[in-house]
């Protein structure tokens, strides 16, 4: 803006300057993995055996759930083809590590060690096992920048699971300690929304697939003279504790 550079030159300058920090990001990642390994090495044998047993049980439960899910998916595909509907896009997951947060106080972005060389593309959804995190905003050769839910650049079309009311997640900058809280504005007045209701992505807009957990309603109030309902939503993903995330990659049907 101030340097008045054309977008291509500004992008190249950004890549060049950010690459100066790559050694530090690598060093921080290596240090973290050394600390993790040291922590694992200090665990007792009994603890590790207990952990393996617990993971084995979880694995069996997940395999069962996966089998049921696949059966339901196959049925869904058959029914869609019988009805003549378009097949749904399938998504695959790729893991990435969070290597940095936005150094300013007004934007909400994180940096991942997942760049163009790893298959990152602008717009890909990012999530954790808790819920939606955001979408990829910019892609560099070795890293990518993710804009988090709650930033002005990351609007999310959502639906309340219990009432099926649709709405849009917006940023709220007025709350001084409110990084984990965002504002949901419904498309119409919806008095049935209550605290504790679950908010999930609606799939409208095509960026985020439907059904990803976004958060839970904290409280509601009528807005614009009762035309809409505004709800404060506590996000499911804990942005302050993000270490590893998943990137959803769309598979062509």
């Amino acid at each position: 803006m101030l340097l008045n550079l054309p977008p291509v030159a500004a992008g190249r300058l950004r890549v060049a300057v950010s690459s100066l920090f790559l050694p530090l990001f690598g060093l921080a990642g290596s240090s973290q993995s050394i600390i993790d390994r040291a922590a694992y090495a200090s665990l007792t044998r009994n603890t590790l055996i207990g952990e393996i047993e617990r993971l084995r049980q979880t694995n069996q439960q997940l395999q069962l759930a996966d089998m049921q899910g696949r059966a339901a998916l196959d049925e869904n595909v058959r029914l869609r083809s019988l009805l003549g509907w378009q097949p749904q896009a399938r998504w695959t997951l790729k893991a990435a590590r969070v290597v940095g947060r936005d150094p300013t106080t007004w934007w909400r972005t994180i940096t991942l060690d997942f760049g163009e060389r790893h298959g990152a593309r602008v717009g890909q959804p990012v999530l954790t096992s808790d819920g939606l995190v955001g979408r990829i905003r910019e892609v560099y050769p070795m890293t990518s920048q993710v804009v988090l839910v709650g930033d002005n650049e990351c609007g999310v079309s959502t639906v309340i699971r219990e009432t099926r009311d649709q709405g849009l997640i917006q940023a709220t900058a007025a709350d001084p300690i409110g990084e984990g809280v965002v504002l949901l504005r419904t498309l119409q007045h919806s008095p049935g929304i209550l605290a504790g209701h679950s908010v999930v992505t609606s799939g409208l807009g095509g960026v985020f697939p439907p059904g990803i957990p976004v958060g839970q309603v904290l409280d509601t109030r009528p807005a614009e003279g009762g035309l809409y309902t505004e709800a404060r939503v506590r996000l499911a993903a804990r942005f302050n504790r993000l270490e590893e995330v998943w990137i959803l990659t769309r598979q062509q049907p």
Binding site: L3, R101, T105, T109, N152, T172, R241
Partner: protein, 183 residues
């Protein structure tokens, strides 16, 4: 002047920019980065020349903008303006007093993010507006108020270590020796 203190100052700035992107658990709940760049600019402006101030402003601003969602270069002008004003008026400032350093750190810590935020609001990127942002800018000011005197202590100590020492003059000068008696 020895180049080591300036190199160390630039290196610290580079590490400080990187440090801002880390430590999510320390300041994450407040949404505030560990931003000590204004304190570094204040120190550079009060103890070094304009080229050093420009160097620190370039490293800190371009680094921060490249690692954030800021348009690249947006924080360069606020950082350099702070450094320039302090450098030009440093003969009027009580720069060796701890409380003056603290107030300068506080003022710089508030002024630089506030000016950058103001520039962003003029842009079409829709930077957030609200008391939350102002509250965090105030916290950054307090952080820099604490960091500025500490930087003076550390870097003045480093300067003492690395700067060339003046040759000590001996009290006794042979050419001024008064010789008594006949030789």
């Amino acid at each position: 002047m020895n180049r080591v203190p300036i190199t160390l100052l630039l290196l610290t700035t580079w590490l400080a920019v990187f440090g801002q992107t880390q430590f999510p658990t320390l300041f994450g709940d407040l949404g505030m980065p560990l931003d000590i760049r204004p304190a570094l600019i204040v120190y550079a402006a009060l103890t070094h020349g304009l080229p050093t101030v420009l160097g620190i402003a370039l490293v800190s601003s371009l680094g921060t903008d490249a690692l954030s969602a800021n348009p690249i270069g947006v924080s360069l002008v606020p950082s350099f303006v702070l450094g320039l004003v302090l450098n030009l008026r440093r003969h009027l400032l009580l720069r060796e007093q701890g409380y003056a350093q603290m107030w300068l750190g506080l003022s710089g810590g508030i002024a630089v993010p506030l000016m950058t935020w103001g520039l962003l609001l003029m842009d079409d990127r829709h930077a957030p507006i609200g008391f939350g942002v102002l509250f965090r800018i105030l916290l950054i000011g307090f952080l820099n108020a604490a960091a500025c005197p500490a930087l003076f202590v550390v870097f003045d100590g480093l300067r003492d270590v690395f700067d060339y020492k003046p040759i000590p003059e001996m009290g006794f000068r042979k050419d001024r020796e008064i010789k008594r008696g006949r030789t």
